[in-house]
Symmetry: C2
Amino acid sequence: VPLSLEPGRLIAAAQGGDRRALARLLTIVEDERGGAGLVLAAAYPDGGFTYRIGITGAPGSGKSTLTDRLIGHLRAAGEQVAVLAVDPTSPFSGGAVLGDRIRMQDHSADSGVYIRSMASRGHLGGLSAAAPRALAVLGIVGFDYVLVETVGVGQDEVEVAGAADTTVVVVNPGWGDAVQTAKAGILEVGDIFVVNKADRPGAEDAAADLVAMLALGDARSWEPPVLAAVAWQGTGTREVVDAIRSHRRHLEGSGGLEAGRRGRRRAELEAALQEVCSRRVASLAASSTHGDIVRSVADGEVDPWSAAEHLVSAGTDERWPR
Amino acid sequence: VPLSLEPGRLIAAAQGGDRRALARLLTIVEDERGGAGLVLAAAYPDGGFTYRIGITGAPGSGKSTLTDRLIGHLRAAGEQVAVLAVDPTSPFSGGAVLGDRIRMQDHSADSGVYIRSMASRGHLGGLSAAAPRALAVLGIVGFDYVLVETVGVGQDEVEVAGAADTTVVVVNPGWGDAVQTAKAGILEVGDIFVVNKADRPGAEDAAADLVAMLALGDARSWEPPVLAAVAWQGTGTREVVDAIRSHRRHLEGSGGLEAGRRGRRRAELEAALQEVCSRRVASLAASSTHGDIVRSVADGEVDPWSAAEHLVSAGTDERWPR
């Protein structure tokens, strides 16, 4: 029996600290090759032990540098930390190397830190399908915190970071277009806002803009703080960790933590249903059994909507192709 | 029998020039209420008589003003013209009123012009589902040309305009960010580019940028022309119509017209399959029969991916809910 078919053994090894086993589990669930379903099933029930932090923002806003600092603070407090980097521009993901500004090298010898990068594109179902699977696995092997870093451009990326327990949105002074981006969805997902590179001109304006925009929304039980930081110097980054802990306490006290997780799991189910359907649709349209009707549609003989109803019903009758 | 269940009668009336019947048919297929399937089925086979022109570009680029001028030129040549405006900022859709710059009032008394606006959001399946249905209906009631105006922001909008026989992309001098947008997909769908507001500084640079970007692509049998226009003055707009006719002749001569339409119909089938699936997925997740499993997922007891496979298989066995 190949090891990949023994999720129980791999999970036990990963929980015992075997990073190779963990890496293998992640590869299995991300690639959706044989065994993904078994691994994921074995990853539940979800004890909810691991706290998930999303970090998102425009490319170049300093998300990775901030993430690096957060790792340092959490490690200093004795926490076990995993990072899932799905930002293609992140140094964690093998993107732009920012040289001495990034200290992640310091963490590579630290067994309390595990960093996983994800090629965000090209997976079946895309990022929004692959990341939750990886996070499900990272959630059961004993980490206190999982940090998910995504570039805040595009719905998928925002969704992935937004599906965390606490979401940190990183912006820069002179944000300009990013304000537009924020209006399009980033603002809504942020629990904590960090104006990074706050030593640059315009930092106070950016913070004031954020506060003003946040005030326009509905009153919430948690008012997202807007913090200033210069992550590469380490200035203001401890306050970000404090804010995360404070948001966590708020969620735990208000019942919002479990409510948020229930919502997230329901959204994951819908996405998974959509994914199963998409796979079957692709099979249906490609199936030679249905070549005639596909050709009739292409010829303009039959309307695509009747054909689709017909194909799905046919697939239902004869069992859907797998 | 309600009139909506008699698609044949409504279609015959619409083909006879009854605009109320046409409006009713469009409402039926856009809303997907009862009868949509019957209307669409009756709209096929698609004789391919109506030539479809897509017009897209950034908000404020002057798409509507250009569309208005194109209507004028086509009408002067005796063509019957329909417009489907799915641009929320279009005056045709009830958006920004540009006063005397827009002459569409001139067309309202002209029985050879029919203008339909579409609330681009909020339909089940979105714009990319609703627009092809409306276009299928507009394609069988005797119009020589259907113009589809969409704002070139977002994948759906670009797709809808790009699924035309000839797609016209409208840009402005000092395009800046729009070049980024173009890179993201507008460039690929354009058969004709119009630098509108060409009396402003930077028009030649914008045209040169476009030519340079287009030259970077693969060699094509049709080289998209880059034209200059000042639509509100009527300058250069006749040349746009000439270019459309010239592209049409090219497509008809090369077999590209039928090939493009076959590709479009196949894409419509895939979208329709996806839509049927989404509807069934929504039913599955909402069905009280499956309340237990949905609850188990929300509770974190069962992983969403196994649950999705299980739900779809269950739905397959017991016939999918409708």
